[in-house]
Symmetry: C2
Subunit: 217 residues, 2 copies
DNA sequence: CACCTCCGCTTTACATTGTCAAGGCTTTAC
DNA sequence: GTAAAGCCTTGACAATGTAAAGCGGAGGTG
């Protein structure tokens, strides 16, 4: 009984799914939110700050999204569409690679998404409002991961990997999520022993994922 | 150049490491913070709310910790001590299990820590202030993980696992972190297909970790 | 044209928050 | 007995999130 029903604002009352983004102001606000969240972390951005950066009045965000939480929810939905798109094009691109290579690529793509769009990643997976309860977010999140689930099933069906499909899927999901989280927070460097060269993070990511996929039964 | 140097309050000026917790008020504040963070997530707790719950004036937290961020930092340091302790007793307890069993147990222990102390876990690994920069927090975090690093090295030296030690360590770390993060946020249930029985989360955690360790070369 | 009604946003207002400066009370030291 | 230190409070300020009411124009209807 927290507050599942958002305040039904006079205008647009919080778009449930992603369709119908509509007004230019709304889009500008999301852009501003993304920028600020990328700079300070999504949980540190203020409603009024976003409005200022977007060049609107301080109450514009509340008007469109109902509340601060609603605003971040909106960013999460936008991010889920983005994630879905990027994973799809990656899978298409890698369609004729060997099975395990496709798994490696997909996991890498997930991590890369988190690094390219840290604000969206946070909004989707790591913000308190994302945590539990919200049915439609839960469903959308699950849907976005169905691509990976299907890929694992396909590779398994083709005999490229063995063992339990669901377990393999869970391993890839949790590992990718862990790597992505640590990478976004800059904590991967702290883990590894050697400071390394220019793109240390990318190398470590590649190394872990590749080892993981190679070890699947 | 954000603000590495905290405000040197007249009294205790933010304890750098964990030693010398001292005053009763300080401890009460940390208790209150932990309670509230467990209920609402660490990023949603307010300075004044913590003070109220602890039965102190609204400025007490600022007095002891310098700032809101400092307060959470303090929780992080406390949590790191706790984590270190718990991992140590677990390793001691499992000293004579076979090598891979010890790895399984340690990883499970890490996840269990996150579930038992979600506020501490967040403060250590998942709060924006934990992200980058802070040298002493970085060092403490790394130190807390040295136990696991040593264990992996030991098991590897004994010939129970092969391959690259550092990679194995990274795999275990990132996987554990991913599982812990998802579990704390209640997102693990959303991943798995079957709703399952009573302690679904624990079963899934066990399954993933066990598979992972079994697959190490 | 006049009128009405939305849509998109603003203005005003208020309770609450984080932070700062200053001060008081108690304990310890000399 | 006086001084100092530790522990905490009171008071104030700017900034935040949220709610309610209002404004201007576009679009349709008579």
């Amino acid at each position: 009984m927290t507050e599942t029903a958002a305040a039904p604002a006079p205008g647009t009352p919080v778009t449930g799914a992603g369709q119908g983004t509509g007004s230019p102001g709304r889009a500008a606000l999301l852009r501003a939110l993304e920028e600020l969240a990328r700079e300070q972390g999504v949980s540190n951005v203020g409603l009024r700050e976003v409005a200022r950066r977007a060049g609107l009045s301080h109450a514009a965000p509340t008007h469109f999204f109902g509340s601060r939480e609603g605003m971040i929810r909106a960013l999460a939905f936008e991010g889920l569409e983005l994630l879905d798109d990027e994973l799809c094009v990656a899978q298409e691109r890698d369609a004729q690679l060997p099975g395990r290579e496709r798994l490696v690529s997909d996991a890498k793509e997930f991590v890369a998404f988190a690094q390219r769009h840290p604000a969206h990643f946070d909004a989707i997976f790591r913000t308190p409002s994302a945590a539990a309860g919200d049915g439609s977010l839960d469903r959308a999140r699950r849907a976005a991961l169905d691509g990976l689930r299907a890929l694992v099933a396909e590779v398994h069906a083709a005999g490229d990997i063995g063992g339990d499909v669901e377990t393999a899927f869970l391993q890839l999901c949790t590992l990718s999520h862990g790597i992505a989280s640590l990478a976004v927070d800059g904590l991967l460097q702290g883990l590894d022993e050697v400071p390394e060269g220019p793109n240390a993070a990318a190398d470590v990511v590649e190394r872990i994922i590749r080892a993981q996929v190679a070890q699947l039964p």
